[in-house]
């Protein structure tokens, strides 16, 4: 187990370096340079453009730009955004908010989703099963900006149950609660369905029948044996979803004005802000890798047949 973790951690290094280069090259390859949209409808004044290009090394060829960037990165310097704000400061401020939001969403989706999945999986075809089936179908088919917009308008603006937006950098639990519910809602549906299908499948399997027939209580047979086996795909999904929620919460972040990472990356891509994109995405890749490692380790806990040695 220990050697497995070390090996996985070492594997992360080339992945990270490769990822930074690929992202850097992709931003570089985008048509239009950062100065094009920067000065509104007119071309940037030449003096301003020259100083800007000099400051951000825009005249160098790609490899030179990349090595300058990596060189700075080695000193812990993430560079500056094109409006002169330190990328590292932005990441320091934004990641905690995004991680908080992502974690809350994942916790909500895991609890609600697995609960609904278990209840419906045990009583397949019952009233509750149908209710959840229809509810999840509805949630999956409605785009998130509709859910978010409606939730904000009615729950926050109209009835005042929640804050309308996150207005400061230190987003509180309460401010993030509604966004987290919105963000998690789609995944709740997936988790519920995934759990239900797997559980229903496993309940029909031989080992559960054996367990019941040798006198185990239903609760124990289902809870300890069937559910644990059924959770493997669910855990895979949740792990993957956590990563996706961090970088992909753009819509939710815009609706609730959350100073998170998704929006930041989106905006930076639009302004061709290489340093910001690479910095933010690299951290995202790191989070992804770590979460995946944790998921893989969880497999072993859920199913002892999966061994990491």
């Amino acid at each position: 187990m220990g050697t497995y973790i070390v090996r996985r951690l070492l594997q992360m290094i080339p992945v990270l370096i490769g990822a930074t280069f690929l992202i850097f090259a992709m931003v570089f390859a985008l048509p239009g340079d950062p100065l094009d949209g920067k000065c509104g409808e007119r071309a940037c004044p030449p003096a301003y453009a020259a100083a800007f290009e000099e400051k951000y090394n825009l005249n160098d060829p790609l490899p030179v730009q990349y090595f300058k960037y990596v060189g700075n990165l080695a000193h812990g310097d993430f560079g500056e955004t094109y409006n002169g704000i330190k990328v590292s400061d932005q990441l320091k401020e934004r990641y905690p908010v995004t991680v908080k939001l992502g974690t809350m969403a994942v916790v909500i989706e895991a609890i609600l989703g697995i609960l609904a999945g278990v209840l419906t999986g045990i009583r397949k075809g019952g009233f509750l099963d149908n209710l959840v089936l229809i509810a999840t179908l509805v949630v999956i088919s409605i785009p998130i900006f509709v859910i978010g917009g409606l939730a904000q308008y009615f729950l926050a603006v109209k009835w005042g149950l929640f804050p309308v937006t996150v207005t400061s950098g230190e987003a509180t639990f309460y401010q993030l609660l509604l966004p987290a519910i919105v963000l998690g809602s789609l995944s709740v549906a997936y988790v519920a369905r995934l759990t239900r299908t797997n559980l229903a499948e496993n309940l029909r399997s031989d080992y559960v029948r054996t367990a019941i027939s040798k006198g185990l209580t239903k609760r124990r047979a289902y809870g300890l044996h069937a559910l644990r086996n059924s959770l493997i795909p669910v855990v895979t999904f949740i792990g993957f979803d956590f990563g996706a929620l961090l970088g992909g919460a753009i819509v939710t972040e815009s609706i609730f004005n959350i100073p998170g990472v998704g929006n930041y990356i989106f905006r930076s891509i639009k302004s061709r802000d290489g340093a910001s994109v690479v910095g933010a995405v690299t951290v995202l890749v790191l989070v992804y890798l770590v979460v995946n490692l944790i998921v893989d380790l969880l497999y072993g806990l859920l199913d002892p047949r999966i061994s990491h040695d």
Binding site: D36, G37, R42, A51, N83, G84, T165, G169, S254
Partner: protein, 552 residues
């Protein structure tokens, strides 16, 4: 430009303040009674966006930073909130006999927020700094008319035109001379009749000595001279201004504190206003414009005003796309566009159909310069096109940046053209603004493309010269007409304002003759506010008039 009778009183008041400061303990933030009257105090929050550059007036050309700097820095000239007419602010007088040599006297006793006095050299130093190319200031080009500007530009070429031998020849413009502490002169290379009007633009603000010690630190926390001072800029979150107790000008704000809350999007800001979490939102999101929803959401708490903005359709230069060379074809396309219906259906009436190339908010505006070419007439459009021999290409294209909400109106415009002319018209989205502008800048964009122009200073000249003069910085269609250039030069030399305006109008008439671009509509700004504030007025620049806003 007219002086105000209030000037004398203000000068006397500041003299007293000066004496008091001299005898006092040096407490610079003393509690002098605030100037002005009416409901005062309290704090408000206003929708803000991310400044794109350090907060230095010489380096800011966009509204996110500009809205803030307008309050922090006073200028020589102040534009009337309602009419945009210029009035002397920090300037005691601006005199010229020949439109080429200007003498500017500034009021005595004016102070920066750090307590230092504003002197003539603060203007001259700031302007030289801005014009000196290696400093790379965004607004540096505003000083182009001043004698000696060329010597401050880099002469080299290649990657860094300022390196080594490319260094500018001089660091100071010869056209700027300090006469005494309160007087300086400007000499321009050519005659510039509207120079005094331009002096209200933020590029012409004075900078205190502390700026030159550390420009970078200054950009994070500027020391200005306006009715408000900047307390803090929390990057990507908020910008906090507080009332300048020592402000002696004629346009003080009423509230004690203004916080610009930075949003990424206007939709959440609008919702915050609905819930009274934010006091003023300076634009209304498209979703709330539909069926005038904002008027029922914010009854009696919204306002709309025409501002100095125009939207046009530019034609690609002839070398890029010769299909649009014929003036008759251009006019036919323009006549085929049903501006009124598009404005009603797509913009819910938040635009005004354009009848020329100059916004109605500026002095010198003449209605109907475009004439029947800007009036929708499907039959006339078709017959004009037929008389011109039809459209030479197989289809008309209209390009727009797909990230700016232009899809709906460009498609509607194309439909209108298609129906009237019977020629296929396609609205083409370019992925985003950066790509869009780069295609235009590289002269690779064919057909027609959208463009918008927001005035820098309220002058008819600002709508003509930078856009249509041969080789001008924003002349994206490479329009060139020697007669037009000549009229612009003559107008700049005219000593009489009425004469200048008439010459500019003649120049504008040439644009109509050549159909240099298709005027679409003039912009309007719509704002909404919460139950907490009252007296919100929109200026001719589309900004909030902080001399009127107060807490309810």
């Amino acid at each position: 430009m007219r002086g105000t009778t209030r000037t004398v009183a203000v000068a006397a008041m500041s003299a007293v303040a000066l004496l008091a400061a001299g005898c006092g303990s040096g407490d610079s933030d003393g509690d002098q009674s605030s100037a002005g009257g009416g409901a005062e105090g309290g704090e408000i929050t206003v929708y803000g966006c991310n400044p794109q550059n350090p907060l230095v007036p010489q380096n800011t050309g966009e509204t996110c930073g500009g809205d803030v700097l307008d309050q922090v820095f006073s200028k020589l000239v102040h534009y009337d909130a309602d009419t945009a007419a210029p009035e002397n602010d920090q300037a005691e007088s601006i005199d010229t006999d020949d439109n080429q040599n200007f003498t500017i006297k500034i009021k005595q006793g004016l102070k920066f927020h750090d307590g230092t006095e504003i002197k003539a050299k603060n203007f001259v130093d700031a302007w030289n700094y801005a014009a000196y190319a290696p400093n790379g200031q965004y607004n540096g080009y505003f000083f182009e008319p001043i004698e000696g500007f060329g010597d401050l530009q880099c002469t080299g070429d290649g990657d860094d035109p300022c390196a080594k031998a490319g260094k500018p020849k001089a660091e100071e413009m010869t056209g700027l001379q300090v006469v005494d502490d309160y007087t300086f002169t400007i000499k321009t290379t050519e005659k510039v009749s509207n120079l005094p009007v331009r002096l209200g633009y933020s590029a012409f603000a004075a900078l205190p000595d502390v700026f030159f010690d550390d420009p970078e630190a200054f950009g994070n926390k500027p020391v200005g001279s306006g009715p408000y001072k900047l307390d803090a800029w929390n990057k990507e979150q908020s910008i906090v201004l507080s009332k300048n107790a020592d402000y002696t000008g004629d346009w003080p704000g009423k509230v004690d504190k203004i916080t610009f809350k930075i949003y990424q999007d206007v939709d959440p800001a609008y919702n915050d206003v609905l819930a009274d979490n934010l006091d003023i939102v300076t634009s209304i999101p498209a979703s709330a414009l539909i069926d005038d929803k904002y008027k029922s959401d914010l009854p009696d708490r919204n306002a709309q005003k025409e501002t100095g903005r125009i939207d046009v359709l530019d034609f690609a230069p002839s070398s890029v796309d010769p299909n649009y060379d014929s003036v008759e074809v251009r006019k036919a396309i323009s006549m085929a566009i049903d501006r009124d219906t598009i404005i009603q259906q797509i913009f819910n009436g938040t635009r005004t159909p354009a009848t020329g190339w100059v916004s109605p908010v500026v002095d010198g505006y003449k209605a109907d310069q475009c004439g029947e070419a800007c009036t929708y007439d499907a039959e006339k459009a078709k017959s004009t096109l037929e008389a011109a021999g039809g459209f030479p290409g197989d289809k008309i294209t209209l390009s727009y940046n797909a990230d700016g909400g232009h899809k709906e109106w460009t498609e509607a415009t194309c439909n209108s053209i298609k129906q009237a002319l019977g020629v296929d018209c396609v609205a083409q989205g370019v992925v985003d603004f950066a790509t869009f502008r780069s295609q235009i800048g590289d002269r690779k964009m064919k057909g027609m493309f959208r463009a918008g122009w927001q005035m820098d200073y309220p002058s008819i000249e600002n709508f003509l010269a930078p856009l249509y003069k041969t080789g001008a910085s924003s002349n994206d269609g490479d329009y060139s007409n020697p007669e037009f250039d000549d009229l612009i030069d003559q107008a700049a030399a005219a000593t009489d304002e009425a004469e200048a305006n008439s010459l500019y109008q003649q120049a504008e008439a040439l644009l109509a003759e050549d159909m240099a671009s298709i005027p679409m509509w003039y912009g309007k700004t719509t704002m909404g506010w919460s139950n907490n504030v009252t007296g919100v007025k929109i200026t001719a620049f589309g900004t909030v008039d902080y001399t009127q806003v107060s807490v309810q």
